[in-house]
Amino acid sequence: MRFVLTKIGLLLLTLWAAVTLNFLLPRLMPGSPADAALAKLAQNGPVSPATKAAIEAQLGVPTGSMFDQYLQYLGNVATFDFGVSYTFFPQPVAGLVAAALPWTLVLVGLVTIIAFIFGTLLGVLAAWKRGTWLDTLPTVGGTFASAFPYFWTALLLLFFLGYVAGWFPTSGAYGRGTTPEFSAAFLLDAIYHAILPATTILITSLGGWILGMRSTMINTLGDDYVTFAEANGLKPRTVAIRYAARNAILPNLTSFGLALGGVVGGSLLVERVFAYPGVGYLLYTAVTNQDFPLMQALFLIITISVLLANFIVDILYGILDPRTRR
């Protein structure tokens, strides 16, 4: 259990560093929250002098020494109090994030796992059938597709499948005029809306898994225990899965954890294109509106999610690989 404890210690330390980084970033930024809100108003016409005062009074500008602010911030973060959003004043940031998080978690989480499983399977297949079209097709396709920018894939899908063909809804996570609820009809609706964004993430992230798995798998196929397993007359499927793939997947698991960060970033662009109400879009909104409390909370949440995912992968690795236990 020492292994797990060190991991947890490291997790907490990283968390602290991320939180602190997050505290510092907006304080390096020019312009006060009121300026930001004012700039937003000014886009719709001139702002009277009184307005600025009113806005400042509304938002409440932070006071006290840096250190006091830091302590207060740590306390707030610990109690999930991220302050009030500027853009959605007076909504508390925590509520906004809580509303957006499930969408991203489900979309990105599920799709990433699907992509990982699917990509890994294709990679195993490609390595096992090396030299055949089952190898060439996913390898070449994967190389190419993984070079697509997320948002570009999203735009093309949106245009061709959403508008020209009209097969899929083009924006949102559920139909206009419906309220999220737990019902079969809503679930279906949500799935229907998730198809295009999900496909985008799938297309762009699948290639990496295929290529990664294929190359580790080819390496393990050359390992002696695979040859020995064959020499002992094990069924080819057993050899491929329990011996070669089972071992090849381990290094890929680590990259899975790390790649999550990339996928979360990619989903931000995808969410933007599809107006998907997840944390990515919210972060975009926060950025374009200079909504620092929201931005901070979102960045923190995203970092923590990736951290946690990595932590879980680490632990999983320990379980799957007896070599790291002990």
Binding site: P30, P49, A54, P90
Partner: protein, 523 residues
Amino acid sequence: IDVDSKSDNTGTEGSMLVAADNGSPTFEKNFNPFSTSKRVTATYMYEPLQVVNTLDGKSTPFLATGSEQVDAKTLIYTIREGVTWSDGTDFTPADVLFTFNLMKEVPGLDNKGVWQHIESLEVVDNTVVFHLLAEDVPAASIIDQQLIVPEHIWADVEDPLTFTNEDPIATGPYVLGDFTPNQYKLAKNQDYWQADKVAVEELILPAANSQLDVVNNGYDWAYAFITDVEGTWVNANQEHNDYWFPPGGTIALVPNLTKAPYNDVNFREGLSLALDREKIADDAEQGYVDAAGQSGLLLPNQEAWLSDDLPDGGEIAQDTDAALAAFEEAGYTMDGDKLVDASGTQLAINIMTANGYTDWLQGLQTVQTQLGAIGIEVTLSQPQPAAYQQSLGNGDFDMAMTGFGGTGSVFQDMNLLLNSEFATPIGTTTTGNFGRFSDPQTDALLADLKASTDEAEQKTIAAQLQQTVYEELPVISMFYGGLWGLYSDENYTGWPTEEDPYAPPNTYNSTPLLILTNLEKAN
């Protein structure tokens, strides 16, 4: 590739699809009319005393039946009778009194700064009398526009600043219908005091209104800048789709008058003469707006105020020779293809704009090219909007792109542009006159204009102010920023147009009330 336009009106018969409110990407429920982040349509439900048409400054009575400027310091509003709140309670002058006093109590609510004009107010019979702080005729238009809230609800609100007012009780033509995070509806208020004028039974407001949506999904009304409006919006429904882009403000370059060489009027004149405003307007807004004159007025909206003494109605044509002559006066001469100062260094100008304001940016790129052509090196800086706003307010810039005017009131426009009251020292924040123009004579003119109740006199003063803007160049006007109204007369007719500019076509603020009470069902 051609995309078929399809009418995808999800509402029932008599409803109207409006692209007015964009969720980011979903809606938060906030109908607090004082909040800066309220749902846009709060202004369709809460009414002001009078709606000011920002195009010409004319007021239309709403909760007041009229106002009277007794003298330059006293203003009397007669409050409309027979109006009820949407919960059935009667609307009374007390509500008006309450609303204004609430803002005095909680200054954070006073977005328009009414209490900078009012000394006190009182209810007399069915009127509300405003006693102003000074002789202040233009104050009327500010008081006019204040949205009135019901006392019986708001008196109990603990913190009106953070109150999200999820169940709005108002007097306006619409009440809140179904609300979901990505679409909500406004239903017609059947008890509305001028219900007979309201033709649209239901407004549908989706959260996502991408331009693809607007063009393809059969919207009735949208406010959006759209590329190639003829080829897209109009083309989607040739018969019914139409647009009107009246000017809504003047986009200008503000030189920082506290800095050399920007404080040299010859220098500013050189810049002004070097620019081809037609081309800039064309590049920035794709030909939908006109180049701006140098009168300081928003034309043609304020045509009536335009001084006859300005040559060409204030318009300044590009004249490179004259520009160079002006620069020579300012101490800059042409050396090869560079404009250099006495020491031989090339004239370099930095112009600030806000990141993300793409139309301005495109206009500025043309400015860059045009000034480059006479040997001036122009760099652009694009801080994020908040930082831009801060620099602008603090006077931390060389030249900045910004907008002015468009309040509908000539006094307001000129005051914000020229009053030295706003010319705070560099480093302190101001909200107008960012270039720090300061001239006692102009200040005196503005004070006179503020106190004048005589229209002829007002015009005379305004003409003098225009002369100042024209000669002193505190800003270098470039083009009129447009109001991007798109509408379809397939279901409803009676939209404001150039011929009948009874209201600006925007979907925000109170002017939509004018439109919503003017539309009629298309046969």
